[in-house]
Structure formats: C-alpha cells, structure tokens
Amino acid sequence: MALLQISEPGHSPQPHQRKHAVGIDLGTTNSLVATVRSGMAEVLTDEQGRELLPSVAHYTADGVSCVGYEAAEHNVSDPLNTLASVKRLMGRGLADVKTFGDQLPYEFAADDGGMPKIKTVAGLVSPIQVSAEILRKLAGRAEISFGSMLDGAVITVPAYFDDAQRQATKDAATLAGIKVLRLLNEPTAAAIAYGLDQVEAETDTAPQERIIAIYDLGGGTFDISILRLSKGVFEVLATGGDSALGGDDFDHAIANWLRVQVGMDEDLNPIEQRILLETAKSAKEELTDSEQVELEILDWKGTLTRTLMHSLIDGLIDKTLRACKRSLRDAGLENLDISNVILVGGSTRTPRVGEKVAELFGKQPLCSLDPDKVVAMGAALQAEVLVGNKSGDDMLLLDVIPLSLGIETMGGLIEKIIHRNTTIPVAKAQEFTTFKDGQTAMAIHILQGERELASDCRSLSRFELRGIPPMVAGAAKIRVAYQVDADGLLSVSARELTSNVEARIEVRPSYGIGEEEITSMLQDSFSHARDDMQARALREQQVEADRMIEDLLAAIYKDGDALLSDDERRCLKVAIQELREVRESTIEHRVLARQIESVAKASEEFAARRMDASIKSALAGHSLDEIEKG
C-alpha cells in the first residue's frame, strides 16, 4: 500500500526471473555460503562435498596460491605466508593488533597509520585482500552451483563490529566483485534461521512477544544480543560482546598451559607456536566426549583432564557471562525474562559453555541447528527476501548501533551524538559556532566507543569544514548531520547555514582503505581483468538507469497529478528522456552514473513528497485495534 512501491512489496516486476542470492558467514576460522532452495536454507558445498571453507589463504611469490583447506595445509610448514584468522585484524589499527598480535605469528608493516598489512613473500597483504579471496572463493562455489552469476549477497558481521570493521568487510566484498544486499548481524541471522517468527505465526497460543538471547562464541569474537520478537518484527534491544575474545582464546589458554608443562620459554618460533596450538585444539575437542586426554609433545608426555581444562577456560567464559549481564541491563531485562537462548558459533560445542550459559539464564539453550551453519542459513533466508524472490511482508529486522558515536571536544573528551543500542537507521544533527573572530575552518574528529577520553575510542574519521566566511566569533552557524544506515555505516555532512558552504564527506574510517586503493587492488587482481570490470560496471549502471526510468514513469503516472506542477512534470520528463538517450549511446559507465545522479537530484523533491504522503496514509484508515492485531 505504500505509494512508492510500484509492484507489490517483495515481488520483482518480472516474476519469472528468479534471482540468485546467497548468505555468507565470513568467519574467523571458517566461512560458509548458503542459499534458499524450495523455501529451505541450505549450505552449499565444494566439489568434495565439504560445507566449511577454512578462512585461510596461502601466498607464494606469485600471489595467492590457494584458499581454504588446501591453504590450511601450509599452516605448519609455511606459517608466515599462510594467513588465517584475519577477521581479527579487519578494521583494526596497529595498536589493537599489538594487544593480541602475539597470538598471530605474522609480521606486520603499518603504512601511514592505517590498517596493518601483513608481510608475505608476495609483498604486503591487507586483511581486506585476504577476506576478499575467501569471499571470491565462496561466490565461485555459488556461481558453479547456480550455473550463473550471483545477484547479491547478505554478509554477516558480529553485532559488536564498529564502523571501521563493517566498512572493511564491505570493502572486501567490493574487492571480490560481490554486491552486498546488507551487512547482517550474526546473532540476528541465527534467530532467523531458527524460524522463531514462523513458530509465532503458526501457533495461536504463542506469547504475544518473546525475548530471545543469542549467545555467539566464534573462533575470534564473542557476541551477545537480546532480541524482541513481536509479530514478525525482530527488534534488537541490546547487543554487547568482545570483538577480540573467542574459542581461539581457549586454545591459547590450553597451549600456554602446555608450553609451561613442556618447559618451553615464551619466545616461540612460529612452528613451535603452531604445534602447541594444534595440540591444544585437538585436546579441547577430544574433551567434549571424554573425561581426560593423553598428550605428547616432543619428548614430553602428560594428561589433561576435563576439570583442569575448565579451570583454564572458566575465566574466559565468565568474561562472556559478564557481557551477557550487561546487555540484559541495557535492555532493561532480568535473566528470567528470556524465553529462548540460542547457541551460535563452533566454540559453543565445548560443553562447558552450554552448561554455564544454561546456569545464567535458567533454561536449556536451543542448539538443534549446527552452530557452525546457523548464521549462514539465516543470512541466506534474509538474502532471499532482499533480492526480491520472496515477499518479506511478515519479517523485518530492526538492528541497533553497537557502539556510541561521538566527536572530540575541547580537552580530548568525547561528546556522544548517537548512543549505543539506538535503533538504526538513525540521523542526528548538531549546530556549532565559531570560537574566534574571522575563523574560516573547523576540524571535526569522529570517534566510536564508550570511553570518556577520545584517545581511548576508535578514531573513525577526521575532516575539516573550510571556506567559512570570516565573521565575528559566534556568528557562524555550522550544522553537522550524521546518518547511520541500516548496515550500521556512518556518513557525515556539515554545512555553514548563513553562507551555505557545504562539506559532504564520506566517512572512510582511518583504519580503512581508500576508494582509489580498492580500485587499484581490483585492477591488480588476476580474476578481474580490466575490461571485465568496465563491462560489469556499465551493465550495473544500465540496470540502475532502466529501473530509475521505469520507477519514475510509474510514479508520475500514479502521483504526478496530485504532487507535481505542470512545469515540474515537464522537467522530469525531459530528465528521463535525457537519461534514456545517454543509456543507449554511452559505453562509459561513469558518464551514465553522472546522468543517473543528475536525474536522482531532479526527482528528489518529488520522491520526498511521495514519501511524505505515504507516511500520512500508512496509518490512515486503520483502527488502532486493527494495527495491534497486525
């Protein structure tokens, strides 16, 4: 019933053209790709029938030699060129990396204070490039399975990821040539996969609303999310966690115990480190079923009991439980308000984790779906809706921003502008004035985090608003607007109101990589020859142009009489005609993109009027009872 929607919501204009969409779980240790077939989410396998893809890439002097299982085989023999667990490095600075860098055997090179790059025989490699290799491999798996190109993907991220980490993930997808339909929080994906909204719809006796806790312990990250599910709407109430704590830390704790037992000193070479870690990992897995395990390293022999292992890892699990309590408090809830607890992530296979979680929430967690697959499956279900194959009328995800956004103020303090756990998308604006007579510029430093001092928070971006006309102090009015989109990504604009000087900026996190760098990486990459890229970019713009023409004509037909003056209608028609001509004649994707942008500008006011009208009509004609019953 929205006026803006020409076809029914969720139905594509050409129903016969089924689109190919996937959900991708880009994990620290393993990654997966899933799609929806006959209404069911299923994980796609490789030629050998394997579902997981180890998140590992191996580099030789020629570049990437292999990705996945094959790459993981080089773990022990060539650790410095076998890049694993790079998710922990995504969007991080060198300082962050140092705090857990001792757990990763790589050598880092920081360039201009950005995201650290890893030194390999192939030269410096960014974590984004490694992630792109993994994504490319998964997309390839999907394209083989579909027998055609991929139309889009939902890629999951830990709910706790900040702007820099999300942007890095999106950049990796761009680099891999994948269209991102949405960055989806992993816990939300898990809740979708369990189909709790379906249960709700089918049983009349189901409670009006239920509260779901999703406990997600992956290899390198921990997430806790508290969701409210009501009439098909998943609303994230609170989210928390630790983006540098995961099951890998269990392995490290056990490996460290082993090191002491064996009598090695702390200065291990990469190969010794690998051996200890591999032994620790298999010991942990064996203790899932047995009470104790016999171990052998070099000429040392010993026993690790389950009780002893608990004493090594309980501190880490307790850390996750404290985060759970904090999120409950953020949501204004008690632990007994929770209706369902879902376990996600391979590290929840360690039985001790389930025991302690059950204890905290006072109920047995749900774990019927494979904790390694559940996120990819949920992402696939959401991708199916977003790409337009399935009507999503009954399901909606309302996410929150996980960490507060703010700006640096005098004295290195931070002033919060958007508080954590605010539902996204969200927009905020602030007004500032000048501090000195004749001041013509102003610097704005945007940060993300909860700490009081700017130096303790993640620096996202610094920019300057210049060209303010000289005025006496306090006369200028500078309006800074912040917009966080549904992916949790921030953009900022600033404008001096008395003179209309404007600075529109793209917030590229300080730790991210530049647009130009992405382009050059794309051009360097072997699988994307330059011509391919051009053709692909042109095709994308043509699709966009066609859609824009079709949408606009339909909108004019429907609402033109009511919302446009004759002049305005003529102008739009001319703009559409020009776009049509450029679309037919140009082979330069940039030329077409500029034309599209100009039509977008020309039709903005009309679109806004239609949105305004449809907001007003959305609730009109519905009684309150009707709306509450859904």
Binding site: R326, R329, G392, E408, E415, T423, F432, D485, E604, D612
Partner: protein, 203 residues
C-alpha cells in the same frame, strides 16, 4: 558553544560528494509532527502499546530493507524516512524527551543546558543525592544503597511527570519548563545509578 578543535586554514570550499561515496542528505522534511506520524493526539499521555504497534507497522513499510531492490533515490529516502520514524518513536516513548518535545511544539526550547531550575530547595536536594551516589560504593552493601537511592529518585521522577502533565494541560508553560528541568536532573541521576551499578557488577 564551540567545543571543537579549531584549525586555521585558508578558505577553500570542501566538497567531495559523488557517485559511489557515502553521503548524507538533510532528513526528509515532513509537514507532520511526531504525534501525527503515529496518528495519535498531541498530548502528554501516550499509550505505550499503541505506540509500539504503530511503530512496527510504520517500519514494516518504510525500513530500507523494504527498498533493497529499488533505485538509488528511493533507497536514500527510505533511510531518511526510517531514521525519522526511529527518532519520532525514540522521542515519544521517553517521558523526558516527550515533555521537551511538547514544549518545543509550543516554541519553547527545553533542550539540555538551555535552562536551569531556580528552585533552591530542589537544587540542595540534588547535591545531597549526588553525595549519596558518590558514597554508595563504600556502603556495607553498595547494591542495597543504590536500590534505596533509585527508588527515591524514581518516585520523585514520577511526581515531576505528574506536575508537568498538570502544568502543560492548563497552558502553564513556565512551570512546565521548570518541571522539565527537574525531570532532567532525575533522568540523569537514574542513568548514573545504572552506570555505577554496572561498574560495580563488573568488578
């Protein structure tokens, strides 16, 4: 009120907008106020369950996910519209923000820092409450101390809300503004009690 680092620089216009970049636009300008968006009367009393139901209904229709397969313009508009709906919901569900907004609709600026109550006895009481808060961690049972403090502040807060309602209803905006100032003190204190409790639990 400038609270930013100042950089002296020569005048040159800064504009990096363009295709492919993330850019932000002014929010959609709606002629409706927040109450109209939710089809409810402009009043202090808001039925929370009605508000919640209509919020979900609106987001079902305007959330950017509903526009994922649409063109650039409509996608951008959907982000702005959904942001506005979120802001309206956030404002109306919070007693303090709702009270401030009601005054704003009467052209009275009740936002933070812009006014302070002149009720001396009230201010004295606030100082005492703050002292109690700073001493709470040293109490024999800090959690009990905080609970006691909280229930006191909560009942004061609801009294202030009732005062506001009465004053607002009979167009007594000067006193209503004063009540909002007191509500700000209470809301801030409640927030700080929560924070302190969280910090103590984490230790």
């Amino acid at each position: 009120m400038l609270k930013m680092n100042v950089v002296a620089a020569k005048a040159s216009t800064f504009n990096r907008s363009g295709a492919g970049t993330r850019q932000v636009d002014d929010p959609v300008k709606l002629s409706s106020d927040f109450f109209e968006i939710f089809s409810i009367p402009v009043a202090w009393q808001v039925e929370r369950s009605h508000l919640d139901a209509m919020y979900r209904k609106l987001q079902q229709e305007f959330h950017p996910d509903r526009y994922a397969s649409k063109g650039t313009v409509e996608k951008r508009l959907a982000v702005q519209t959904a942001s506005l709906i979120n802001q309206a919901y956030d404002t109306l569900k919070s007693p303090l923000k709702r009270a401030q907004y009601l005054l704003e609709l009467k052209q009275i600026d009740a936002s933070q820092d812009s006014h302070i109550t002149s009720d001396g006895a009230f201010l004295m009481q606030q100082i005492e409450l703050r002292e109690a808060l700073s001493e709470a961690p040293n109490a024999a049972d800090p959690f009990a101390a905080l609970d006691g403090l909280r229930s006191g502040v909560e009942s004061a807060y609801s009294q202030q809300q009732m005062d506001f309602q009465a004053e607002y209803q009979c167009d007594n905006y000067d006193d209503a503004l004063n009540s909002v100032a007191k509500m700000q003190f209470s809301a801030k204190l409640l927030y700080e009690i929560e924070q302190l409790e969280a910090d103590l639990e984490d230790q």
